[in-house]
């Protein structure tokens, strides 16, 4: 990413953040002692795993300072947290500060985010502040939830080392009628693969196992559309995409931004997509949404935004609230 653009985006995010973190924001502080174990077993991600025998580790801190001097490699953090009922209907972000070097995060056993890349192709993300959107579908409100963070440190200091550690519950700027944040099918190339892997949306594919990949890729998702929404005008808020893309629904071309077939750089990676879906494209029941993307350098994929299908009525209302001047 070009620095100047990053600064502009940063400003945008800060402004946006202000509106989200208004008076109606709630937080659950997660600083303090977490369960901790070195090693690496995928069942440690599970909600019901018994971690009572594990060490206690203060978060944030370097594990070198808490009994693991000189340790490099895998380690896991786990913590249980009760989320009260009244915080449902919020836009939820998990902030984990800075993690040295690589992490992936499980919420009740479901992966919700990753930064950097694990061995064998290690990519550190030690200088990235972690802020993961938590899909409403993975949370248990009015009950105990389990956070599990898998960390890999390649050298020197390691762990969840500093920064804000908390769950932030903002009043969402907009709640899509069908929330499409979360996992999509993903594969590189121009056409959808049957054995596509899973990827988190929004989020750069570089952080999700496709480090340094530039070129074509396909995001796809099967979406159940209730009959009550089919009679309404719907808009797919597809977020900020890097770089150019074409949208297909049920095999039919619907919309595009930039020049998917072109070869030169466009500035489209700055732009948020609002795709109006013509009547008759969506069917009752299951629909296949496919976004074909080309990335010509730097980060790639559906990078940012609140992704989902929204009725035009709600969409207009949302933009009227965002109006300035």
């Amino acid at each position: 990413m070009r620095t100047r653009i990053s600064i502009i985006l940063l400003l945008l995010i800060v402004n946006f953040g202000k509106s989200v973190l208004g008076n109606n924001t709630a937080e659950i502080e997660l600083k303090g002692y977490w369960k901790f174990s070195i090693g690496d077993k995928m069942q440690w991600a599970e909600k019901n795993f018994d971690d009572s025998a594990w060490d206690d580790m203060y978060v944030p801190s370097r594990w070198e300072e808490n009994g693991y001097r000189g340790y490099d490699g895998y380690a896991w953090y786990r913590k249980n947290v009760v989320i009260p009922d009244y915080l449902s209907e919020r836009e939820v972000f998990l902030e984990l500060g800075y993690i040295d070097d690589v992490d992936e995060v499980y919420f009740n056993g479901v992966k919700i985010g990753q930064s950097g890349s694990f061995p064998p192709n290690i990519l550190t993300a030690y200088n990235a502040s972690r802020r993961y959107r938590v899909p409403a579908s993975v949370m248990d409100f009015g009950a105990e939830n389990t956070l599990a963070v898998r960390v890999y440190d390649s050298q020197l200091e390691g762990g969840i080392v500093r920064g804000n550690i908390r769950l932030v519950f903002g009043m969402p700027d907009v709640v899509p009628d069908i929330d499409l944040n979360g996992f999509w099918h993903f594969n590189t190339g121009k056409e959808p693969d049957a054995d596509a892997s899973q990827i988190l949306v929004p989020g750069a594919w570089e952080n999700q196992g496709f480090n340094n990949y530039d070129g074509y890729a396909v995001y796809s998702k099967v979406v159940d559309v209730p009959a009550s929404l089919l009679s309404k005008k719907l808009i797919l808020m597809a977020g900020r995409i890097d770089d150019d893309d074409r949208l297909f629904i049920n095999g039919q071309f619907v919309a595009e931004t930039g020049e998917y077939y072109g070869t030169s750089n466009t500035d489209m990676h700055r732009e948020f997509r609002n795709y109006f879906i013509p009547d008759g494209i969506l069917k009752p029941g299951k629909n296949l949404i496919v976004l074909k993307i080309i990335d010509r350098g730097g980060e790639g994929g559906i990078l940012e935004g609140n992704i989902g299908l929204i009725t035009q009525e709600k969409f207009i209302n949302y933009w009227q609230r965002r109006r300035k001047n």
Binding site: L12, K233, G258, E271, F272, Q312, I316, Q320, R322
Partner: protein, 350 residues
Amino acid sequence: MKNLYAIIIVGFILLTNSAQANKWGRVAGFEGLWKFSVGDDVKWAESDFNDSNWDQIFVPGNWDNYYSGYNGYAWYRKNFDVKSFPGEGSLMLMLGQIDDVDEVFINGVKVGQTGSFLPDFETAYNIERRYPIPDGLLKEKDNTIAIRVYDTAGPGGIVQADLLGIFFDNDVNLLSFDLSGQWKFSVFREKGINNVGFNDNNWAEINVPGTWESQGYDGYDGYAWYRKKFILPVELENQNLYLVLGRVDDFDKVYLNGELIGRTEYLDHYNRVDKWRAYQLYRVYKVPANKFQKFNELVVEVYDEQLDGGIYEGPIGLMTYNDAKILIERNEYDSWGNPVRALLRLFDIY
């Protein structure tokens, strides 16, 4: 180089417009607050749609000034009265530059479109919007204009306009016989196309003046043919007259009753700048009295190199020597201080 040409052309458009202040009499002005909504609904074109709970934004200007970062469909609506009707024909709706695509309705009737909406998106962000208004469409009071706009990225909406509103071409008053209105139109070269009696019954119709981009031929560059049949009024018989075709983008050859009577084209003695100025020039072709018949057939072959194309600005018709002289000798200068009309004599073949 293409970009350089585009810059030069845009520059010309801006400067030419400012020089044209006297040419255009304002019938309705549209600068100011418009009703505005993001979204898209065909019902919003209708004159009786209730837009009272819509937002308002100032036009012209980038809609991102209010709706920062917005990409997608949005509509503009405005009610207006018409102060005076200068006469039928030659009313031109001018909307400046719209980013990226627009479709315009007056009193619920579509009057023009530039660019192409999804799924075959094509931007027209750098094209001046000028739409001829069909006769009989406007009322004295309570007219509605509704503009559907699609923006894919960056600035959006009615972003920039020197002339914004409905205008009457004052030069029409110089005409002895008005030839504006519906002409036959085709983009296919056919045998005998310039001849008297050529069958153009199956051709499309197009409003003259007006770019063909704004009338269903979006993005078309190349050759096109205009045909018009007319009866010479008795009072103009046995006179040398001037056929005025306003401005044409870019080049034209004109045939009256099968005979070439004038042309503006890429001639060897043009320099490159002159070539690109051809679209600015008023076509005023001298026609000796003996070239007219009682029943006349006029054919205009137009070649457009890029962007807008066609017989895009009036006046269109026949003038006497004295009136044509007024048109030719009126001072009008381009950005470099060159008189725009002095080049005319280069093309007169009589």
